[in-house]
């Protein structure tokens, strides 16, 4: 058995095509992602928004309200600048020196901007809530003046402008990381190419080489198990190298729970190889045609898991979540994302369980196809 694994490893280690897809391609893609998004990956602390309020058209309550909003203990949401006239601010806005300013006219709140952006969206959201709260308080004041104090307290306590769902590690919520998690998922699912080789070299109806091996007196299960183990060793090594390269060389933040990350890569690698073996057994065409079909399927699964457009992943999660649950690539991406993003491990274990179930199904399916030793045709 050990001799079979050793010899098979010698074959696989010289299989340039599979080595490229398992080792070289993910490293290159990771490097390209890093070069493309690298400047977006750093922990970017929140900077307070400069908010200009026209001093001659102001509302003392408004300035106080806005100045009081905290992001955290040290950071305010807005840096209020209320020392300029409306005329001056309008001129600065025309000159593009500022992005917007606030003024109040006839009890009506106005927010003038010359372009859309994150800061403008946050500001508008806060202002909308301010208007709603003001109206509620005014209405309560006119109908039940004795309850104004309690309503005001309640409203101030209940709303939060920044939802803090980040972990205690204070990891930055950077959507760019999804690309790298999807890249790890892609590397795992590229195990399908080793799965194709496994079937091609052990199924007598797939190649003359397999027919020759099947004609030999070595037990069939022994061959399949040793070839599978060799494929797993090769591909798991490739996935780990890719992970450590992304994590330690490129500095992509995976959240730090290395054993659980390795666990998901371990299961993902098994899943990828078994998936390829199952597809290879199911698809009746041979040679490059089969490789092409399986490559297309894998690519589609990776695209749906957010490798190319993270938004696609969110759209699937929103409209057809089932598709996300049966996509091994998406499960790997989600498991890694949960490890990075959430404090608890519940979500992580959910996706790991999904991935494990798929892996068991793929292994069982491919075993049922591969155990046959007599064929209808060769």
């Amino acid at each position: 058995m050990f001799w079979l694994i050793k010899t098979r490893l010698r074959v696989l280690i010289r299989d340039r095509a599979n080595l490229f897809w398992s080792f070289i391609f993910p490293l290159c893609l990771g490097t390209f992602f890093y070069l493309g998004f690298g400047n977006l990956l750093g922990d970017s602390p929140f900077n307070s928004i400069n908010l200009y309020i026209a001093s001659d058209y102001s509302d003392a309550n408004l300035a106080g309200f806005l100045a009081a909003i905290d992001v955290d203990e040290e950071t305010k949401l807005f840096k209020i600048k209320a020392d300029f006239t409306k005329e001056f601010l309008e001129q600065k806005l025309t000159e593009n020196a500022i992005t917007g300013y606030l003024f109040v006219e006839n009890n009506q709140l106005y927010y003038r901007i010359n372009e859309n952006g994150m800061e403008q969206t946050v500001t508008k959201s806060v202002l909308d809530q301010y208007v709603q709260i003001s109206q509620v308080i005014l209405q309560v004041a006119s109908t039940n003046p004795e309850k104004v104090a309690s309503v005001t307290d309640s409203l101030q306590n209940d709303h939060r402008y920044l939802e803090t769902i980040r972990s205690k590690r204070q990891a930055s919520s950077n959507s760019m990381y999804i690309y790298f998690y999807a890249l790890i998922a892609m590397t795992c699912t590229y195990g399908c190419f080793w799965g194709i080789s496994l079937v091609n070299d052990t199924q007598a109806n797939q190649s003359a080489l397999a027919a020759r091996i099947t004609s030999a007196p070595t037990h069939r299960l022994k061959i399949i198990v040793s070839y599978s183990l060799a494929a797993f060793i090769m591909h798991f090594s490739g996935c780990l190298i890719n992970f450590f390269y992304l994590n330690y060389i490129l500095g992509v933040d995976f959240g730090g729970n290395i054993p659980l990350i390795i666990l998901v890569i371990f299961v993902g690698t098994l899943c990828g190889i078994a998936f390829g073996a199952l597809l290879s057994s199911l698809i009746k065409v041979k040679g490059n045609q089969k490789d092409g079909i399986i490559a297309m399927i894998t690519l589609a699964l990776n695209a749906l898991s957010g490798l190319m457009f993270p938004d696609l992943k969110y759209l699937i999660a929103k409209y057809i979540p089932f598709l996300g649950y049966i996509n091994p690539s998406a499960s790997i991406t989600d498991a890694l994302h949960c490890l990075y993003y959430y404090e608890g491990l519940g979500h992580y274990y959910f996706y790991l369980l999904l991935l494990s179930i798929m892996t068991v199904i793929f292994i069982t399916g491919s075993y049922l196809f591969m155990r046959g030793s007599r064929y209808d045709s060769i």
């Binding site: 696989l12 030999a216 069939r220 060769i378």
Partner: protein
Amino acid sequence: MIVRLSEVTKTYRKGVKALDDLSYEVREGEIFGLLGPNGSGKTTSINCLLGLLKFESGTIEIFDQPMGPDRYDLKAQIGVIPQNVAVFYELTVEENIDYFCGLYVKDKQRRKKLVDEAIEFVALGDYRKVHPNKLSGGLQRRLNIACGIAHKPRLIIFDEPTVGVDPQSRNNILEGIKRLNQEGATIIYTSHYMEEVEQLCDYIIIMDKGKVIAHGNKEALKNLIMLGETIEIKVEEPNDEYLKPIRELPNVLEANFKDHTLIVKSGKGATNIPNVLAILNEHRVKYGTLYSSLPTLNDVFLELTGKGLRD
């Protein structure tokens, strides 16, 4: 008996009957030729014999024991040289032979000796560390053979091993097969190259459409056909005037021109050479070289399987 196929029938999914109640026996120590046109069922019969293919009915015995996919004890005594070169292109010549030998022989020391002998046998000593894709077609064929014989099998199956090789390599392969036979191996040799089978095999069966249509040694097969003699004469002027009386000669099966060569085929019995020459002289035909040949296995094959093209 080394191999016994009894009334084996195999039909492929598309309804093509590849083997139709096929029966044959291979005796110990002989070189058994399996002849037939493309699609006649030669390779299918080999795959059934090796336990790779399912078949509907019939029985297969090897070394007087029923053969099946799990008969590893029987498989251990068989060597297979498939039609296509079936080796790992990632391994060197020596590693390939060692690998396939290792599927049969576990002992490392013994295996090393067997690998060396196999390399010497196919004369690939200079290419031990070379990868198969760097070898010529002929050398790859020799490697293919070495991988199938290194473990010294009792029964060796050669499935068209000389397809696409040059005459020197072909000769080397055929000589090697004879040597293996002399060393005690029983050989099953499938081919559609008549001269190889004629040169090599002790006993031959001719298959067509999944059935044995003739069997015996080469002399016995030649006696199965009507042809006794083929006369070829170079003539200056091919002409129907003298072709007609030649065709009317007793025992002549057919007479035709091929360019400037008159070809006369006669049945068994006395030679027709004097009669043909007499007619040519009578018609004052100028002629040159004359060849007379006895029937070959090719004539037997074509007469039995027909001259229609096959896939």
